[in-house]
Structures are given as C-alpha cells and as structure tokens.
C-alpha cells in the first residue's frame, strides 16, 4: 500500500488510467480507512486519472473501449468515496447539465462519454438516457433547475429533434434560462448555429471545454 496520501492519490489515478477496477476499489477503501479527505481523494486520484485517460483519448492512444473501462474504475472509486464526503462538499451547488440522446436514436456511446468526462470534471449531470422526447429535456431542465441541456445524436434522421428542443424552450419563453449544446456524428457548427444552439463540440473532451466555458470556469 502507498506510504502517504500523495502516493495513494497517484496510485488511484494510475488505477483509473490502467483500467484496474480491483485496484481502484482497494485504494478507495484504503483512503476511507485512513480517514483521508474524500473530496481530495476524488479530485487528486479519480478525477486526475480520468483527466489523463481523456488526454490519451485525444492523442489516439486510447479509444472508446479503453475510456469506458477507465470510467468503470473511476465509478467504483466514486461509489466508495462519495458517502464520506463532508456535508459542505456533497451539497455544494454545482453547474448542472441535463444530457440525453434525442428521440429516434439509440446510439448512446458518444453521449455516455460526454457524461463521464463531465462528471469527472466536477459537473452535476442528469443523464436521461437515449431516445428521449424533446419535452422531457425541457421538463427535466426546469425541475432540476439545470444550467445546460446537452443533446446528442449519431443519425442524420434525428437532427431535427434537436431543433425541436430549442423551439419548445422558445415557445415557453425559457430560451434565456438554459444553454443548449449539441454534438454527434452528423452535427456541424453550421447546423448548431442554424438551430440557434449555444454551442457545439466534436468530441467528449471538447464538450467538457465547452461546458466549462459556459459555466465561466477556467479550462
């Protein structure tokens, strides 16, 4: 076992990058047993590891399968550490994103990667899943008091469902309240502009940069 906190954080980060679920579980439990601050362990261990995995993805050393297994290790650690967060850390208001694949499409790997990377960057994410009607994005954004609605599709046939979400917000006079961002295979910056979305990203890491920008946090 690592000799000190710094080594433990590094080992936990390495376990995420190394896709090692067992090691992540062991180290997260070790942190709890030693009474190391849960928030710091998440930030400097799990989140750091997922950030490194994201960099490997951007440089095409990792692909979607590796990134998914890294996130499996991260979530195992998170499940162990979250119950030990101090009340003020657990309850702090975080920038909130409602995300989903629009109606008529069930391709959700891209959306899942964006959710994973957003969570790993400290955002609060409500994942509605796939094949989601426009009205549900709007209703959930209202009830959850979200900041951003993130829409994904891989199909050219369902791109119009993205415009429908924007139209519904317009019709309900809610357009100013939420930022709408879009992404997925057939989506282009020009399309995003045409449907009056607030942003477009072509990859999960860039989606995180976009949300950070909208939230006013330094990238």
């Amino acid at each position: 076992m690592p000799a000190n906190e710094t080594e433990l954080f590094q080992a936990l980060s390495d376990a995420v990058v190394g896709m090692d679920e067992d090691r992540a579980r062991e180290l997260a439990n070790e942190a709890v047993e030693r009474g190391i601050d849960a928030y710091t362990t998440i930030e400097r261990g799990l989140v750091d590891g997922m950030g490194r995995a994201g960099e490997l993805f951007e440089s095409e050393e990792y692909f979607i399968p590796e990134l998914l297994l890294c996130s499996d290790a991260m979530y195992i650690g998170l499940d162990i550490l979250r119950p030990h967060l101090k009340v003020e850390d657990a309850n702090q208001r975080r920038f909130k994103v409602v995300i989903g694949v629009v109606e008529g499409d069930t391709h959700d790997i891209g959306k899942n990667l964006v959710r994973i990377m957003l969570e790993a960057s400290g955002f609060d994410v409500i994942d509605l899943g796939r094949d989601i009607p426009a009205q549900r994005f709007v209703d959930t954004a209202i009830s959850e008091n979200a900041d951003v609605i993130a829409l994904s599709t891989l199909m050219t046939t369902t791109m119009d469902a993205m415009a429908e979400v924007v139209d519904k917000l317009d019709a309900a006079n809610l357009r100013e309240r939420f930022k709408v961002i879009v992404g997925g295979g057939p989506i282009s910056p020009a399309f995003a502009k045409r449907i009056h979305a607030d942003g477009y990203a072509n990859s999960a890491p860039n989606a995180v940069k976009l949300v950070k920008q909208l939230a006013g946090v330094p990238a």
Partner: protein, 358 residues
C-alpha cells in the same frame, strides 16, 4: 444537362479496362430516400420486397446513378438473429434492444436463415426484382453488415467493446456466429444475381483502435471478402467515421474498393492506398447533401475530383455515407450533373470554379 452515353454496366466495364468513358461513375448512396420517389413512408418498406425494389429502381431511373443498393438499415441480419428493431412511422429504423445481454447467452444464438428469418427474405426478394427489372444495365448490390458490427447489435455496443478488453474469446465467438450468418446471407444475395456490398460501421477508429480492428474486425472481413471473390464478384467495403489509420488493413481484407466517409480525406487515401484499391467518396451526407445548396454540392464534387480523379485504381464520386431520407432531389441531381459536366477525361473549368465560390 447532357445525357449519359453509357449504361452503368458499360461505364464500369470500360473504366475497369482503362478505356474511354463518358463520365466518372457516381453513386449518391440512396437508401430510404427512395421512399420519397414513390411517395411511400419509410416504414412501408418493412415486409414489402416489391415496394423496396420499385422504389430503388425508380430512384435509379430518376437520377441515373451507377449502383443500385438494396438497403434500409444496418440491422437486418442482427434482427434475423433476435435483435429488436424499432420502426418509426416515417424515419429510418433503429436498434431497440440487442438479441442478448450476457456472455452466457452467446451459445443460444444461431446464424440466421436468409430465406426464413426476419426481413432477410424481403430484402432478397427486392434484390431479385431489381435485377429482373434493370440488372442488365446496372449492378444491383445488397447491403451486407460486417460481422463485428452485427456482433455489436447482438450483444450491445458498450458490452461488446468492454468484452474486447476483458473477454476477447467471447467477442470472437460472437463474431464467428455473425460471420456464419453473413456467409449464408452473402450466398443468398449472390443467388439473386446481386453483389454483396459490405459495411462495417463499428470498425471505425472513431470507436475502436487500429489494433482492435486487426484482431476483431479485419480477420472476419477478410474471410467474407474471400468468400465473395470465390463467387467471382468484386467487393466494396465501407467503414464510417475516421479510418485513416486502418486503410492499409482495409486493403489487406482483399476489398477492391474502399468507400471513404467524409470524416477522412480522399487525397490522403489516394496517396496511401490508391495504388491498391479503387476509392469511393466522399461528399458529406448531412452538411452538404442534406443541408447544402446545389452549388455547394457541385463544389464538393469538384473538390473530390480534384483530389482523387487520378487515383491509380480509379475513383467513384459518392456521398461519404448513406444519404439522409429527406435529402433534396435537387442536391442529388446536382451531384450527377457536376460529374457529367466534368466529363472524362476530367475537365474543371476555372471560371466556373470561381463562380461557385463567389
């Protein structure tokens, strides 16, 4: 617009022999857009081989492109092996649920019977009818989904890609079953007088790594290409999204033509593999064909021609992937018209070029 002087069959034959042709071959990849030609709903294609054939033949006759492809969606083979497919009223179908959800269930799967299971018999009927109607003048192809992609629909994509790292033997077991199904379906397609046209969407390096393609995609594609070659037909292989780092491997499957997505560059493909394979591509289906103007389509065609008209093994001007259902007819016409204007040997008038850009 000037009329074509050759039929597609004559054009491909002459092009293959290096003889004079009237224009470059051109294939806007029309799938469910064909429903719009005959005033049908996309869901009407389900279970109706005659309607699919009528629509595809009508679309071919309307636009005058060079290959008929019998295709509605990529799920046909997986559906025939138990995957659940949802058919919206008037849009392209999508996967509702994979056939199985655990490794233990792989043993329960069986290769589909192309003459009995799911919508495979319907698609075969459509191919037969299209061949009967126009097979003398144009090649009819039948969409054949690659084993790795079918495997992803059988067990779910996320499960499959996790298994590649955790239980590779299970992935191979699944791909092998998908391959056996693909052999049987390919044989049935060939028996209709059509040519299987291979798509392996999930092999894209947008999803998996080149190393994973070499282990889980390429071997099965190679066996499928060999099988089709054994029946005297050439093979076009399409992989969606990014593919640059697997072009060499795609060539190693033995495929005769690579269909390149607009996420990749035709000029780079020519430089890397153009001496080994014919290239097909790659006007953007959504940004240009669906959302662009006819003049933007023409310019995109010119760009493809500029980049790869001198490809040693030849070039087919095409969309980078299947066209969206609602692609305007004017844009499909513009693609063909641009290819006719450019002619053969290719000639791109400079002042027209600048006019389009202005």
């Amino acid at each position: 617009m000037s009329h074509d002087l050759m039929t597609p069959v004559q054009r491909f034959a002459a092009y293959g022999r290096g003889e004079a042709i009237d224009r470059l071959p051109c294939v806007p990849i029309v799938g469910n857009t064909a429903a719009r030609i005959v005033g049908a709903k996309v869901s009407d294609f389900r279970g109706d081989g005659k309607l699919i054939a009528d629509a595809q033949v009508a679309a071919y006759q309307r636009f005058g492109y060079d290959v008929i492809r019998i295709f509605t969606d990529l799920y046909t083979q997986a559906e025939a092996m138990g995957a659940r497919v949802h058919y919206p009223d008037d849009e392209t179908a999508y996967l509702a649920a994979p056939a199985i959800d655990s490794v233990e269930q792989i043993a329960t799967l069986e290769p589909a019977d192309p003459h009995k299971d799911g919508n495979l018999p319907v698609h075969l009927e459509a191919m037969s009818r299209a061949v009967d109607a126009v097979g003398k003048e144009v090649v009819v192809t039948g969409a054949l989904t690659g084993p790795f992609t079918t495997a992803s629909f059988l067990i779910g994509t996320e499960t499959l890609v996790r298994l590649m790292l955790k239980n590779p033997a299970a992935v191979h077991q699944l791909c092998e079953i998908a391959l056996q199904g693909a052999f049987d379906y390919a044989k049935a397609i060939l028996d209709t007088g059509s040519t299987p046209s291979l798509t392996d969407a999930m092999c894209s390096t947008t999803v998996i790594s080149p190393r994973q393609f070499r282990e889980f995609g390429q071997p099965y594609l190679t066996r499928l290409v060999e099988f089709i070659h054994g029946h005297g037909r050439s093979v076009t292989l399409h992989i969606c999204g990014k593919t640059r780092s697997i072009w060499e491997q795609m060539c190693e499957t033995g495929a005769d033509c690579l269909s390149i997505d607009n996420a990749a560059d035709l000029g780079e493909a020519k430089a890397m593999v153009g001496h080994r394979v014919r290239l097909m591509g790659n006007v953007s289906p959504s940004e240009t064909m669906l959302d662009g103007t006819p003049s933007q389509v023409r310019e995109a065609v010119r760009e493809c021609v500029r980049k790869a008209h001198d490809n040693p093994k030849g070039l087919i001007i095409a969309s980078g992937c299947s066209l969206p259902v609602e692609t305007p007819f004017a844009n499909i016409d513009a693609m063909l018209d641009a290819v006719r204007e450019i002619g053969w040997p290719v000639h791109i008038e400079h002042e027209m070029e600048t006019a389009w850009k202005a």
